[in-house]
């Protein structure tokens, strides 16, 4: 039983970190479908740097790489006014192709053993504290309220003297850091990097953000729920339910299906930040 709780926590951690990265971006009005790419890039760079430079430098390099892509998203959407969805798609392509290229060229295949990593607990504690810290920050601090203002109505924020472009820069920096942690966590947990190892976790994090109505604590709970169902899936694999064995793909689809139902407005009112996607 306790083991099952731990499994849930392990599976939920990268989702929470990724979703909080999505929060600081989207709550400021920047649509971010590039979470998957940011996590993947961070995982790859962490895996490449850690063996030679140690896990601390590896983690920092991973965070730096995700932040680099996140700043590219800021530059593309805020300076060049490229549509936020297109920029996100491009970043996912850059990350998917870039990690394939970098890992293929720079990984030393003669290395034995796993990738050195920081203890998983570090990531788990940060993931479980972060949503509460963010909720507090956003509701109680000047910077947080500015993020809300910019995400709700960038024009009104401008009239109040808040420059959306600067607030969003900070938001996307945080996105880079949090998704960087999420990617590094995947490497530290598995001890390897494989092509496309995020396997949709960035999209599930996005789904959790939507289900949580773009609020930190409900989003956190959605991530834990998704982690719980993944754990259940791993545990029930091969066990027949009601006489038939459910393919694991049906379980895996659950977060996506629930999100579609939520978007259809069947699970409470639409809480999309009013300024999402606006300049």
């Amino acid at each position: 039983m306790l083991e099952f709780v731990f499994l849930t926590i392990t599976l939920a951690t990268p989702l929470i970190l990724g979703a909080m990265g999505g929060y600081t971006s989207e709550r400021g009005g920047v649509i971010n479908i590039g979470l998957e790419g940011l996590m993947l890039m961070a995982a790859c760079i962490t895996a490449l740097v850690s063996p030679g430079q140690g896990p601390v430098v590896g983690l920092l390099a991973g965070i730096a790489s995700a932040t680099f892509l996140s700043l590219l998203h800021w530059l593309a959407t805020q300076h060049y006014r490229i549509d936020q969805v297109i920029s996100g798609m491009a970043i996912n392509a850059l990350a998917a192709g870039g990690t394939n290229f970098l890992y293929g060229k720079f990984n030393d295949p003669s290395r034995v053993g796993g990738i050195p990593a920081l203890p998983d607990d570090l990531y788990k504690y940060s993931a479980f504290l972060l949503p509460f810290a963010l909720a507090l920050y956003v509701q109680r601090s000047r910077g947080g309220l500015r993020l809300l203002a910019v995400g709700s109505d960038p024009d009104k924020a401008r009239l109040m003297g808040v420059a959306p472009i600067r607030v969003r820069l900070l938001g996307l920096l945080a996105t880079g850091v949090f998704t960087g942690l999420a990617g590094a966590m995947l490497v530290s947990e598995t001890g390897v990097f494989t092509d496309n190892m995020t396997a949709g976790r960035g999209y599930i994090a996005l789904a959790a953000l939507i289900l949580g109505g773009w609020r930190p604590i409900p989003t956190f709970l959605a991530c834990v729920a998704f982690g719980f169902f993944s754990a259940l899936r791993l545990r029930l694999q091969g066990t027949p339910i009601l006489g038939a064995e459910l393919p694991s793909e049906v379980w895996a689809s659950l977060p996506y299906v629930v999100t579609i139902i939520a978007l259809a407005g069947f699970l409470g009112r639409n809480r999309t930040p009013a300024g999402l996607g606006k300049h």
Binding site: A76, I86, G97, N100, V250, N270
Partner: protein, 331 residues
């Protein structure tokens, strides 16, 4: 303001150059391998055109939605759903009747798979990008489950359907292996022409573009943007599903797990690169086909294929920056 676009292009090229230098890859070699691999021999051109075909039809699907102001990121999912539905029909009904029914069922299931996204966008104000991303993931998982279960060929070890009957194959216009030219490419060309005509010369096409340009203005002009959105999304999904069924009948001959190597995502790049004209989809899909085929040759010469995906991402950013360059910047 004129320096901004050149700065982006120079910056992107600089990052690419540094990455290639660090990896000890000669950029000139990369370009020559890409060109030789995709256009160097008649066989290479033939393979490039094969890669171009699904990208052309999917590009048209995404383009249609884009003209209505919708991002159909779901083309990937509609493509695989259409491919599996088409295969299921063709396996039971061989011959020309099977080809027609397979195409119809592919289009029908593609349209049905796009329907929730269109409906949620039109009537529930939920962003189509998010719904289509979610539907893509469900489509990938569900088709994998189905092809490992009910639709699996029991004689095969891996999750794949049986091979379709030779009589339900779409014929080649010209065949002298390894050089082949399949009739599906011609169909794609005709579809591009048809779409160009439909958008410019019919009321429905005009209404669709009116909604895409300014849905509020369209509503005041008596167009119901919600119905247009729903129809545009379903039509886009239908074309994407048709592309899936055609891919089975023209090239693959069966459906298997992980059927699409990301055609649906590349199609978004094709549609963006095409600009405002459906005929622009033709050169754009050929360029993407070249990168896909040339990338395989590059992989053989020891440069990971991911590099072409990076090139695609950079192309998309540059094309989008050009497209949005007239937008005024406010701090």
């Amino acid at each position: 303001m004129n320096w901004r676009l050149p700065a982006l292009i120079v910056g992107i090229l600089a990052v690419l150059f540094v990455a290639l230098t660090l990896a000890k890859v000669n950029p000139i070699d990369v370009v020559t391998t890409l060109l030789k691999g995709s256009l160097g021999t008649p066989a290479a051109i033939s393979a490039t055109l094969r890669e171009t075909t699904p990208l052309l039809i999917l590009g048209l699907a995404v383009f249609l939605a884009l003209r209505a102001g919708l991002f159909n990121i779901g083309a990937e999912g509609q493509f695989v759903v259409g491919a599996l539905a088409g295969t299921a029909v063709i396996l039971r009904i061989p011959g020309p009747a099977g080809i027609v029914l397979g195409m119809l069922f592919g289009a029908l299931f593609g349209a049905l798979w796009a329907l929730p996204a269109g409906w949620i966008k039109a009537y529930r104000n939920g962003h189509e990008v998010i719904t289509t991303i979610m539907l893509n993931n469900v489509a990938a998982l569900m088709t994998t489950a189905l092809v490992a279960g009910p639709f699996k060929d029991p004689k095969q070890g891996s999750p794949t359907t049986a091979v379709i009957d030779p009589s339900s194959r779409i014929p080649n216009l010209y065949s002298n292996p390894p050089v082949n030219l399949n009739a599906t490419l011609l169909l794609g060309l005709l579809m591009a022409l048809g779409l160009a005509y439909w958008l410019r010369k019919t009321v429905a096409g005009y209404e669709l573009q009116a909604v895409g340009a300014n849905s509020t203005a369209a509503r005041f002009a008596g167009v119901d943007p919600r119905r247009v959105t729903l129809r545009a999304m379903s039509a886009s999904g239908g074309i994407a599903g048709l592309a899936g069924a055609l891919q089975v009948m023209a090239f693959e001959g069966r459906f298997y797990a992980n059927f699409s190597p990301g055609y649906g995502f590349n199609a978004l790049g094709v549609a963006l690169l095409a600009g405002g004209n459906p005929l622009g989809v033709l050169p754009a899909s050929f360029l993407f086909g070249m990168l896909e085929k040339g990338g395989t040759s590059m992989q053989i010469s020891g440069v990971p294929k991911g590099l072409t995906t990076v090139l695609l991402g950079m192309l998309i950013l540059i094309a989008a920056a050009i497209r949005y360059r007239r937008v005024r910047v406010v701090a």
